[in-house]
Subunit: 213 residues, 2 copies
């Protein structure tokens, strides 16, 4: 009786781990189904195709994270004073870390999936995210722009994409970087430590005055 949705969940759980670790195209359905201990054909039965499985894996996180992030940012703006850039970025940390309650290593997996998705796929995931979660993204962009009014709109466009690159690249290779950092400096960082490291970097970059030339 539990078998109905159990198979679906087993597939999603196994898939997200492997996708995050090895990337989407490097992870075969056979590897997923053997880890999940389900039949190969059940992926196509429950999800239709590998592409839709990838979207389902991401949606399971985005459906939780995006509303939580929006709420956190809107709550920040109920305060009388203008929120700083660091405050805005930091407001996303709790929604991110709460994903660890959703599933073990949820935060790490989600961020790595996001990074992989943006780098690997040529568009179908980017399209999926912007069309399904565009309003939440708007909330974030407007919030950042308001807190750095000295940055022209066009310049902010570029800097937010620099920021996207910073976070996405870092998360996609977070495991590898952590291994190096551990070997080289004896540092043992969890995902939260890396997030807290990257926030000041991004906030400083986004708000640095434009060169007068």
């Amino acid at each position: 009786m539990a078998s109905r949705s159990d198979t679906k969940t087993r597939i999603l759980d196994a898939a997200e781990k492997l996708f995050a670790e090895r990337g989407f195209s490097e992870t075969s359905l056979r590897l997923i189904t053997s880890k999940a201990e389900v039949n190969l054909a059940s992926v196509n039965y429950h999800f239709g195709s590998k592409k839709e499985l990838i979207r389902a894996v991401l949606a399971r996180y985005l459906d939780v994270f995006m509303p939580a992030a929006s709420t956190a940012i809107k709550r920040l703006h109920t305060a009388p004073s203008q929120a700083s850039l660091e405050e805005i970025f930091s407001a996303l940390v709790d929604p991110l870390l709460d994903l660890n309650d959703l599933r073990t290593e949820g935060t790490t997996i989600f961020l790595q999936l996001l990074g992989r998705g943006y780098i690997e796929s040529q568009g179908h995931l980017r399209w999926f995210i912007t069309t399904h979660y565009g309003q939440h993204l708007d909330t974030f962009v407007k919030s950042v722009s308001a807190s750095a009014p000295h940055i022209p709109q066009a310049e902010m466009f570029w800097r937010l994409h620099f920021t996207l690159g910073t976070i996405v690249f870092t998360m996609a290779s977070a495991d590898a970087l952590n291994d190096i950092a551990a070997a080289e400096f004896g540092e043992h960082n969890d995902i939260e430590a890396v997030i807290r490291k990257v926030i000041p970097y991004m906030a400083a970059g986004v708000s640095v005055p434009v060169a007068s030339k």
Copy 2:
């Protein structure tokens, strides 16, 4: 008579474009050889394997860029005053742009390849780069560290990788971003303009004081 090294070059030229556009594992040898108009088996004949072809593609750029970058940075340190972070990053701009003289779109292709290499492969490229060009990387890292002595070594490790992410992601999607910027803000940037935009962002992020907590 020109056929000898011609085939090798045709393969490299076709491969680097495709690798930069679609990634390494997404690019088949059959696609490369058909674009290069050479026989499929000639890849294995001239390079041994796909893995070694990837390394050869990258080496062709690194052999030019790395010494040029090292020289530029060392020249900077002959001046009596300590070079600023922006000066150090800017010193890399010319060696980077000079790659456009090497091959059309050389700068963009090189940066995209670098990013793909760091994200995709689990280690063999990272190993290849650090063992073959480690001295040049050291020159750069030491130079940056000296100009931001308030940043601990381990923290600098992370920030330099944030920086790598910023530049690599930006360059990978520079064409698309430029199109949007042109349509949205009437801006028409070339690759150099984008590089000049990203330098203040990265310099600010790398040198921002570490949170005392």
